[in-house]
């Protein structure tokens, strides 16, 4: 049954015609060309994101350049599970409210009672005890290890011959962004590893998806651009709407900034005129200032027409959105670093 469904969706992905008309201002959707431009901008600004080719020609999306099939950032740390964000999720609520205005159906958020939390925590605990059982199974190997311990001790431990980085709860994620033809938006895939570099199971990966999205938009599937890799994808059915909302918010913010700038500009002009009145000899200087101010003003207007957010900044905003879906995965750390 599921096979049929996933085949249907890949068929749909295959059949949906690729459009090249830019509509991102009105719909929040982007064309493959815009995806490439946005990817270039992202990987330029944040070099942890890199373009990647596909291993096998059969996986290739022909409307994307060969060397720009998808974006990847590897081994992004996650120190805390999304569960621990449930109670104090002020930021998420904020996000929610805005989305609500645009008709986002939030069926789960307010229904998520304390009981659910406890259940989920219990599930997580069970997983852990399961791991402990595994450890016991190989206890004898552990004992054997003391035989090799002397060598290892000599080599590793004298006055800290190595740096130990014991961070059991740390996970690492490989994050991928591809272009979804059927929804004309970027699509996010996550592949997780535990602190020992062992692949996470889908259930474990779901622990890192915020509960609001976990049941609605997170899907388990084979990453279509990789070979034999099961991933969790964020289903892109609502991406366009959310992106539109985020962009209009950014526009409002930019407009208020513009208003401030205009006020400041008026002051400049007044000063310029004052200067003109005071010193005739510096007329040319005054003119320059005028032109300058006008130049800035014109640019601002153009920006506004462009919807404030340029299309190459699309993925940066997209990642801000994804950060609310996966609150514990620190792909934003790059932005702090720069």
């Amino acid at each position: 049954m599921n096979n049929i469904r996933s085949r249907f969706s890949s068929l749909r992905e295959y059949l949906t015609p690729v459009t090249h008309t830019s509509t991102f201002k009105t719909t929040g959707e982007i064309t493959p060309e815009e995806f490439v431009a946005a990817g270039d901008y992202l990987s330029y600004k944040f070099p942890t994101w890199q373009w990647c080719p596909v291993a096998d020609d059969s996986l290739e999306k022909t409307f994307l350049p060969k060397d720009r099939q998808f974006l990847v950032t590897r081994k992004v740390p996650s120190y805390q599970r999304a569960l621990s964000y449930l109670n104090g999720g002020a930021e998420e609520d904020d996000e929610e409210d805005v989305a609500d205005e645009d008709g986002w159906t939030t069926t789960h958020t307010h229904m998520l009672k304390k009981g659910d939390n406890e259940k989920e925590v219990a599930v997580a605990k069970n997983d852990h005890s399961h791991e402990l059982i595994n450890d016991q199974e190989i206890q004898d190997i552990d004992d054997d290890d003391f035989d090799i311990e002397p060598v290892v001790e000599d080599g590793k431990n004298p006055s800290g011959g190595v740096v130990s980085s014991s961070q059991e709860s740390r996970r690492n994620y490989d994050l991928y962004i591809t272009y979804s033809t059927s929804y004309r938006v970027p699509k996010m895939y996550l592949v997780g590893f535990d602190a020992d570099g062992i692949p996470l199971t889908p259930d474990q990966m779901f622990e890192d998806i915020s509960a609001d999205y976990r049941d609605k938009t997170a899907t388990i599937e084979k990453a279509p651009f990789l070979q034999n890799t099961t991933s969790v994808s964020i289903h892109p059915c609502r991406h366009a709407t959310v992106m539109k909302v985020l962009m209009s918010r950014a526009q409002i913010a930019a407009q208020s900034r513009k208003a401030e700038a205009a006020e400041a500009a008026t002051k400049d002009i007044t000063q310029g005129i004052n200067k003109l009145g005071l010193k005739d000899s510096e007329e040319t200087g005054g003119d320059d200032e005028w032109e300058d101010v006008q130049g800035v003003g014109n640019n601002k207007e153009e920006d506004e027409e462009d919807g404030v957010i340029r299309v190459d900044q699309y993925l940066v905003i997209f990642l801000k959105f994804i950060a609310s879906v996966t609150p514990g995965i620190y792909h934003d750390y790059t932005m702090d670093a720069l």
Partner: protein, 313 residues
């Protein structure tokens, strides 16, 4: 007061495709064969996360054993390669009873032989080599495995260290070096000329009488401040074997935190007898809680067709 040199050990990270391929090969090719299989791993050199250990990755492609295959699936210039051996055992008992000490020592001796035969100079990637010991329970999709990164124990003191701040200049030099040195096996370990330009390791000659430092470089995969990755250890042992007791190392990082280490070999018996005796070999990977034991990957939900079908609702 000189400080003893520390290293950040490799951490392994295994893609599920590696286990999938291993299962296939176990069924179709290896069967009961427990002889050593050649694999290829890669380590990211463009990690930017703070305090990250060097991560060695294996995937299904590792069995193809050719870096070209990886170039087709990795972002350009993001990784370097490490040769490895995989021993896949048939039962859990075999896995448990195997003499791991002897196994590691043997792979260390092999590396030591390559110092003697000078093979390592034409194939420096050997300095970062690895072993994987595994047992695959195919019915339960459970994999027991243990990585080791054979490494010689020689003792070095840090005379001084300093941060290299000319990022762009060195970025350019490394770019140029990679363009001239197209062999992936040679890209990571190099000598430096007086102008800090990398030169191939094959130029290294035996020199017992030398008083000034030899200048070398590595491209580092760790992001711990001022602490180099595990594989510098074998590089230093190689230099010691060739008679160099003073070494100036450029630990180059793409994230801009490159640094120099000015090192001297200590007058310990291990160091002095480097030509006569194989130094002690260390390198079994520790788990995240710091214990020396194998890892277990339970991948039923990732690999089993039945589980996959159940989950994909």
């Amino acid at each position: 007061m000189p400080e003893k040199l520390k290293f950040v050990p490799f951490h392994s990270s295994v893609d599920s495709s590696f286990f999938q391929k291993l299962s296939e090969l176990k069924l179709d090719k290896f069967k009961l064969d427990t002889s050593s299989q050649v694999i290829l791993a890669y380590y990211n050199i463009k990690l930017f996360t703070k305090n990250s250990a060097p991560l060695i990755n294996v995937s299904g492609t590792s069995f193809e054993n050719h870096s070209n295959e990886f170039h087709r699936m990795l972002p350009g210039g993001s990784a370097l390669f490490a040769p490895g051996n995989l021993v896949n055992l048939n039962t859990k008992e075999q896995f448990q009873e195997m003499d791991k000490n002897a196994y590691l020592q043997a792979s260390g001796e092999k590396l030591y032989q390559s110092f003697k035969s000078k093979e390592v100079l034409t194939n420096p990637a050997l300095l970062a080599s690895l072993n994987v010991l595994s047992f695959s329970d195919l019915k339960k999709f459970k994999f027991y495995y243990w990585f080791s990164f054979p490494s010689f124990y020689t003792e070095w003191m840090i005379n001084s260290s300093r941060i290299e701040s000319a990022k762009e200049e060195f970025d350019h030099k490394i770019q140029t070096w990679w363009q001239t040195e197209t062999n992936d096996n040679k890209k990571n370990f190099f000598l430096l000329d007086a102008d800090n330009n990398p030169i191939a390791l094959s130029e290294l000659v035996l020199d017992d009488k030398r008083n000034d430092s030899i200048r070398v470089g590595i491209i580092d995969a760790s992001t711990y401040p001022m602490i180099p990755s595990w594989y510098l250890r074998n590089f230093l042992t190689l230099l010691l074997y060739y008679g160099y007791t003073k070494v100036e190392v450029l630990v180059y990082r793409f994230n801009g935190s490159s640094f120099w280490l000015d090192l001297s070999a200590m007058d310990s018996s291990i160091n002095l007898n480097i030509r006569q005796n194989v130094p002690k070999v260390t390198g079994w990977e520790k788990t995240s809680n710091g214990s020396l034991q194998p890892k277990i990957a339970d991948l039923q939900s990732l690999l089993s067709p039945v589980s996959l079908a159940e989950q994909a609702v």
